[in-house]
Symmetry: C2
């Protein structure tokens, strides 16, 4: 059996050379990429009418992912997808990304190749050019930082512009990703992959789908002035809108979309799917607010164009900036929580 080639057997120059040849192939036919990977920086050309939307998000091994259940392709996919989700929350069409990768020298070179394979898969799916990278050694954990650049030629929806009387609408379903993570941690990747239901939940954690197309449809309708993507949790991210917009948000708990997989898995394990939907993070769904009169047509446009479920889940009220839930009996329930770094 041949020895696994590690980064220290290959050296930075050969690793960079491999990355350059992979990436230059991906960008060479694009008009908007004047210069891709391989020089001191990349060069892009954008239209004058467009505003530039830029964001950065990192994935740290042992914090955001574990090699126990993330394949290298999953890590590459997710590192890019979470950034595209941030652009989607600003109704921006993604254009290009830069990748910074710090890795221990004991990591197999194959890991890097497979990481890029996963990243290029999602990049190609959404028409994004990977135009640059920075590779360095790391004492132990893998650190990945992706910066994404997109363009918005309409108006940018903010967290601070929800208005009293708006309806709150959401794409997709909630809680799947957090349930998927619980399953991967508790039952292990092998057990999860043997069940179709559990695998679908796990994939929401491992390979989230950024709501890029849904955002562009919402942007084209001009009906929505406030949006956020759900990374920390539905309740937590809604409460950012509440605080920044100075409004109270009422969530209709029975309307919160929960997948049939989440419900089925919850019968076999001991947790509440509603609680997971409210507090579990990393769904990477979009939440938007829009005047009530437009809410149904916005949902219909997204469903028709993208085939993505879109649901009215609550409304914006005047009052102290907070989020509360109402169940089907009209009972009020306090909702809060979400993931916070550094606090263990």
């Amino acid at each position: 059996m041949s020895k696994v080639k590690k980064l220290k057997d290959i050296g930075e120059l050969k690793i960079l050379s491999w990355i350059h040849s992979e990436l230059s192939g991906q960008t060479k036919s694009r008009d908007d990429v004047v210069l891709g990977v391989g020089d001191d920086a990349a060069v892009l050309k954008i239209e004058q009418t467009e505003q530039l939307v830029i964001t950065v998000d990192s994935l740290v091994e042992g914090v955001h992912f574990s090699l126990d259940y993330f394949t290298p392709e999953d890590v590459g996919w997710k590192a890019l997808a979470v950034n595209l989700s941030d652009l989607a929350a600003m109704f921006a069409k993604p254009v290009a990304v830069l990748v910074s990768l710090a890795m221990p020298s004991s990591l197999p070179f194959m890991w890097v190749k497979r990481f890029y394979r996963g990243m290029l898969e999602v990049a190609n799916k959404f028409g994004v050019a990977v135009v640059g990278g920075d590779t360095s050694s790391s004492p132990s954990s893998i650190f990945i930082s992706v910066s994404a650049i997109g363009v918005n030629s309409a108006s940018v929806p903010l967290r601070s512009t929800a208005e009293v009387g708006d309806a709150v609408i959401a794409t997709g379903t909630f809680g799947d990703s957090a349930i998927g993570l619980k399953l991967l941690r508790e039952a292990g990747a092998q057990a999860v992959k043997r069940s179709r239901v559990l695998r679908r939940l796990a994939m929401r954690q491992l390979r989230p789908t950024p709501r890029v197309n849904e955002a562009l449809i919402a942007a084209s309708t001009g009906l929505c002035k406030c949006a956020i993507d759900v990374s920390d949790g539905l309740a937590s991210d809604l409460s950012k809108i509440a605080q920044l917009s100075g409004v109270r948000i009422c969530l209709w708990l029975e309307k919160i979309p929960i997948s049939k997989e989440a419900i089925e898995a919850s019968k076999r394990f001991s947790y509440s799917p509603l609680e997971m939907a409210l507090t579990g993070g990393e769904d990477y769904e979009l939440i938007m607010t829009t005047p009530k009169a437009y809410a149904s047509s916005l949902c219909e446009a997204i469903e028709k164009e993208c085939g993505t479920k879109c649901t009215i889940i609550g409304e914006v009220e005047s009052g102290e900036p907070l989020v509360y839930g109402v169940d089907s009996n009209g009972k009020l329930i306090e909702v809060a929580g979400g993931y916070e770094h550094f606090v263990s």
Copy 2:
């Protein structure tokens, strides 16, 4: 004595809130920043005539810096400066940066505040807006990734466009940063700071000056089509130009600019200042090539406008892509080397 407040005592939300208030103050009066830190992404407006130049560079604790001799301000300064240096090598005016920071929860909150102080110092010096950030926990080391965005409205100098007959010119002096690092490692920060000469060398390592203004002057002359910034070492970075341009580069060894501090320190320690100038990295000086007839006027323009020494250090020849040196006796010397990640 009051307890030192660590990140785990503060929590992510309060840390982010502090970062937001620091950064929104820095960007609020800028026309080109439509939306700064605090939402899902930042929004910029740039002119149609301008090409967008983007780059990313990371600093990893234990690889790129040690807390033994880098103050938090030094780390913040250097994390941004090395990116501005990459933009300078593309003759781009820096506009905005995004910062991604992963830190152990045991780190004092004061470290983060001082890190941003150093970063904002260099940002303000070069008119750069810090428009976004991502903060997360890290299992052990500090990991910093900065992405920088600049604009170039002229033409972008590449590594691949050196031409036979060009002169090679360089800003500043070489080897200081690597000597500074040696001194900090071997003699320690306290000893180094007691000597004016040693401190100046150390500062080249801790707080490199990106050649932003020199690059913009060079761009305005229109005389230079090839440039690189020296991060891996003079010989190593010149050999990238040689390989990508398919040319041989002759370095006039006695012309390589070496500071009087480097020469003075070399008398007290056992190393060759010329060898440090050739192979030591992180000088963040610019190397450019230009037709010989223009070399002196390009140097003069930079010296006059920026007060930065600019020297003709060699010439571009036809031949096998490599770099060689000629000493004052006409003797040929092979030059190579430079830092490579992963290879220990």
